[in-house]
Symmetry: C2
Subunit: 346 residues, 2 copies
Amino acid sequence: TRNIDLAVVAGDGIGPEVVEQGLTVLDAALTGADVKVSTTELDLGARRWHRTGETLTDEDLARITDHDAILLGAIGDPSVPSGVLERGLLLKLRFALDHYVNLRPGKLFPGVTSPLADPGDVDFVVVREGTEGPYVGNGGSVRTGTPHEIATEVSVNTAFGVERVVRDAFARAQARPRKHLTLVHKHNVLVHAGHLWRRTVEAVNAEFPDVTTDYLHVDAATIFLTTNPSRFDVIVTDNLFGDILTDQAAAITGGIGLAASGNINPDRTTPSMFEPVHGSAPDIAGQGKADPTATVLSVSLLLDHLGLTEQARRVEAAVAADLAERGDRVRSTAEVGRELAARVAG
Amino acid sequence: TRNIDLAVVAGDGIGPEVVEQGLTVLDAALTGADVKVSTTELDLGARRWHRTGETLTDEDLARITDHDAILLGAIGDPSVPSGVLERGLLLKLRFALDHYVNLRPGKLFPGVTSPLADPGDVDFVVVREGTEGPYVGNGGSVRTGTPHEIATEVSVNTAFGVERVVRDAFARAQARPRKHLTLVHKHNVLVHAGHLWRRTVEAVNAEFPDVTTDYLHVDAATIFLTTNPSRFDVIVTDNLFGDILTDQAAAITGGIGLAASGNINPDRTTPSMFEPVHGSAPDIAGQGKADPTATVLSVSLLLDHLGLTEQARRVEAAVAADLAERGDRVRSTAEVGRELAARVAG
Ligand SMILES: CC(C)[C@H](C(=O)O)[C@@H](O)C(=O)O
Ligand SMILES: CC(C)[C@H](C(=O)O)[C@@H](O)C(=O)O
């Protein structure tokens, strides 16, 4: 029997509701397999911060590190000042656990209505760098609050950091039928970081000669995501551009209610973390209205990462079937979870 | 008789073709008015750089500064290394002439097909900061080309710079029927710059109490531009976010072939510069295929900036009428210009 120790960070708002359904579907997917999942719930997020002032302590981190993977619901609440939980918890996890691949599929499932009139066959994946760029927290302000304030934000990019994520993206492109990789950056303005990315893609391409590549400035990428999203296969890009493009990608493929993500350490020296792209949606929290589909698709990415490829495929297939047939039925969070679990169990 | 001295930077690729038509329409718009336009053509761009290695000399800049406004076609050619002309010419002009308001309307004209299935009534304007942010060129790299390379890009934001562009955006919002301003940033991650922007919008709002405001993270803004672009009235944002959002805005309103922009110094201490958002499109250069509409709409912004409001309105109305009736007729660059000029002349 294989044991999987899962750390669960349900978090804030709709987080607990969607995570519950994610776990239900996970159980269903593992029925019959010789795998036992045990979960550890971690009390992290807005409530904990209000109670203790803590976001993520060293002890929390040590406990989490002791697991095989992490399932995260959503972090954030309007009652907490902007940046506190994002930087003190969510990004701290991504950075501390060296989640350098932030994997975000952009797939338009049959039956899902895109806001685009003619989206075509949209099926790409964004490999967003997760541990560098403008997200490093390397900035500050002087004379704050005065007419002479200067605030800076520093994007830090290293050959080490860029190369490993680019190599991962090439490997993913090579494993896909189209074998195409698009680098997105803005090297005509951000020349130093941009040229590092460009040179790295050129260099690593030698290891993957069957993968074709092209390059788009980030502004042009938003145009193609609007006019011709089916042109994309694998996109590799920096942390901030990836943040922006994956929300746009979610919008054209049916909304962030369906967008899954994995914060992955491909070296497997730490647990990877799987989370829906959406936020905590406090306005609908606790009402059983949230769509758990993005979390369930994140569970599929989790299974895949753990090598349970067949189970991952079944979860994705269940979601695909559900999306193809859901029409405009209104279902509760739990109903969607139950129906997906039933489909997975087959 | 009022004299208008116009510096013309036709530039590269399709630049000369579209600028020619822009000037034709400008002439038509001023027929009968007691205004005389004289133009100075400046030889700037890829050809000049290949010939002399110069992008923009102090002498060029001095000559340009001596004019009332600048009309620019397009800058850039694949034969020039990325960044050279962008930073050495286009951005140098914006920075040297202190074009702190980069004004970019996002308007879906009747008759224009949007790639969105249900765009609604799209009519907003983006006030993009033009002289700060990640565009300042404040970055570098060490150990370049080695496995230990570190490349940085620094976003510089000042109270002075943010306040003046925010005030301009509020004034523009106040002059529009909906009187609404949306700040776009990413203050949950870029906390220092983000909070400066946020505090500034809150403070300046006191001077414009009838303007309502809201805030969106840049990633969420790309979602709303896809699902509900009619929610926007005036957007104020930083240089890089503005670059990204305005290309997406162009895409949803019919493409960059229609997107106009003004690089404006509202203090009028230097000439402002008007240019289509599109690039030099070397693949179709010299073939008379380029659509000059974005340049003509930029001429409308130019006229407006010079206080020739009625003429500006007529140029925009001519474009609107042309777009409403063009259907799928294929016309040359010159034909479009001629027909627009005829409409403007009435
Ligand atoms: C909440 C925020 C810090 C986060 C990010 O910017 O990465 C979110 O937008 C995401 O994409 O996961
Ligand atoms: C060419 C480039 C430097 C420029 C920019 O990034 O500002 C362009 O994309 C634009 O939007 O005018």
